[in-house]
């Protein structure tokens, strides 16, 4: 048997979408390997959502009584389940905690780990992980020599699929390691800045560090207003962490995933962690003064130039066009 264990992240009564994708993917892969997909949820409220994972193909769901939101307790809980069961692989959806837990678990178990994985295939009864490298210009294949292989997906890599079914729910107790007890959450999920909605917008004008300062966002606001209708302004982590724009408007790995009709980036380099949150946009336009900026690799229209010159004129032209 070759079962797959999936870490499922949950918060405020809902299972993370990337985790649902990972459970769906594991169910498919386990089927091909002749095993089962199992999931583990950690912390308060886990029991309330555990049963729901059956619909995505999990045959068994472990509910671990340990603090949520930090890697340490999850590593302890998962190591316990893995040691007591018949597992060959561990799968994580895209997410910051997944990276930390997966890597820590690899060290604990002496297992191999592949991260930022965009696809997993079955070859000769084993899982092979595909991992884009060098700014996504090439894809490597990763196989495992260890008894257990750990695969951490890239954000939105695994499709959510309801296959129907019921999961047996099993409670597990966790003996916390010394190090896990030495990190504690003081506050979690603090929203900084205004509560803006970017997920429903048809047109998103996204601003990055190239705007130069917080006031640079005025140029984005004006352009979004010129488009009118269902348009909004979004941001990169760099500018959100700098306090230039609200967290609720952040796109990417630790922000929102969006797919508007038009995504227009101003002063954004196009880092992978940003790209994963917007690459499904229907039309991607980028303005960047650096002709070698990675964002041009995945833009439909790229403008090499200074946003301070281009944005105001573009705003005027769009206003004029709309009359």
């Amino acid at each position: 048997m070759a079962n797959i264990l999936v870490y499922a992240l949950h918060y405020e009564g809902a299972v993370n979408k990337n985790s649902l994708g990972a459970v769906s993917e594991a169910a498919k892969l386990a089927g091909e390997l002749g095993g089962e997909a199992h999931a583990i949820l950690i912390g308060d409220g886990a029991a309330d959502v555990a049963g729901s994972l059956g619909a995505y193909g999990a045959k068994k769901v472990f509910v671990a009584d340990a603090p949520a939101g930090l890697a340490g307790p999850a590593i302890d809980a998962m190591a316990g389940v893995l040691n007591g069961g018949d597992y060959k692989y561990v799968l994580f959806g895209g997410g910051l905690l997944g990276f930390e837990i997966g890597a820590g678990l690899a060290a604990r178990l002496g297992a191999g780990v592949a991260m930022e994985v965009t696809a997993v295939t079955v070859q000769g009864g084993e899982l092979v992980a595909e991992r884009p490298i060098l700014g996504d210009s090439s894809i490597s294949e990763i196989k495992f020599r260890s008894d257990i292989g750990i695969i951490i997906g890239r954000l939105n890599a695994f499709e959510i699929k309801q296959s129907g079914g019921d999961a047996a729910v099993e409670n597990v107790s966790v003996e916390l390691s010394a190090q896990a007890g030495k990190a504690t959450l003081r506050t979690r999920g603090e929203q900084r800045g205004a509560d803006v909605d970017i997920e429903g917008a048809d047109v998103l004008v996204a601003g990055g560090r190239g705007l130069g300062k917080a006031e640079g966002f005025d140029l984005c606001d004006q352009l979004a207003a010129a488009f009118g209708g269902n348009s909004a302004v979004a941001a990169t982590r760099a500018v959100v962490d700098a306090g230039w724009y609200p967290y609720a408007a952040q796109i990417g790995q630790t922000g929102k995933t969006v797919a508007p009709k038009l995504y227009l980036a101003a002063g954004i380099s196009g880092a992978i962690q940003h790209k994963v949150g917007m690459q499904s946009s229907e039309n991607i336009v980028a303005i960047n003064k650096d002709a070698n900026a990675p964002i041009f690799e995945f833009s439909d229209l790229g403008i090499v130039g200074d946003l301070n010159k281009i944005l105001p004129k573009l705003t005027e032209a769009i206003k004029a066009k709309k009359g």
């Binding site: 991260m115 292989g149 030495k182 038009l262």
Partner: protein, 237 residues
């Protein structure tokens, strides 16, 4: 993955050194700041940069046996090297500049039996506890971490300083300890390309996406006209 080209200090790591400097300059009693790296001979350049930015001395783990190690094996080798230094705090940058891998800190921490946190953008020392802030999947988290700890810092944590000319000139005079696997008790059956549990096989090309149109902005009025026409064609205005 072949990292043999990686010789200079990864820009993300300068944030880790700056964070160490700010803790020291902020009045916390710090005995010394030690820069540690693993890599080929040419990696000393990264260590020279690190000490020019303020580290007191450096340790270079270099050994053909560790070449080609995967993340798990690299983390193990680094942890063994760090053990000898018995640090109160291990700071790392948020990612390598080529590998898009932000997990080495978690591996090192596990081997050291220390708590860890990645992507930290605010770090305060309160006695034996660190108060850390970072952006995680649901917003900003504040986490208390007891020392000794392993912390990876995000690039928003600080603006790294530039080394003075004097510091650059003096860098080569600061103590540099070059060690091999035997010096730091690394079990060589656990490191190197052949012993790494994750086995990288041939790379293939990703599916080709049609290249986008590129406009070089020379005359902005003309550029804007072209953008508007492009948007209009796709009924986006």
């Amino acid at each position: 993955m072949d990292r043999s080209g990686e010789k200079n200090l990864n820009p993300y790591d300068t944030h880790a050194i700056e964070a160490a400097m700010q803790i020291k300059e902020g009045g916390v009693a710090v005995d010394e700041i030690v820069a540690v790296t693993m890599g080929p001979e040419s990696a000393v350049r990264a260590l020279h940069k690190a000490v020019s930015l303020g580290a007191d001395r450096s340790v270079h783990l270099t050994d053909p046996a560790v070449a080609g190690s995967d993340v798990a094996a690299t983390g193990y080798a680094l942890a063994q090297t760090l053990k000898r230094e018995n640090p109160d705090l291990v700071l790392l940058g948020q990612q390598s500049d080529d590998g898009e891998c932000y997990t080495i800190g978690a591996v090192v921490a596990e081997h050291l039996g220390a708590p860890s946190l990645t992507q930290v953008i605010k770090l305060d020392v309160e006695g034996e506890t660190l108060v850390c802030e970072r952006q995680a999947e649901y917003g900003y988290d504040t986490v208390e971490v007891g020392l000794p700890a392993v912390i990876s810092v995000g690039d928003a944590i600080n603006e790294p300083r530039y080394p003075s000319l004097k510091a650059i000139m003096g860098a080569k005079k600061k103590p540099l300890d070059t060690v091999a696997t035997g010096d730091v008790d690394i079990d060589t059956s656990k490191v190197g390309a052949d012993n790494s549990a994750a086995q990288w096989t041939a790379a293939k090309a990703p599916p080709q996406k049609a290249a986008g149109t590129i406009i070089e902005d020379e005359d902005t009025a003309e550029t804007v006209e072209k953008i508007v026409a492009w948007l209009d064609e796709r009924k986006l205005i």
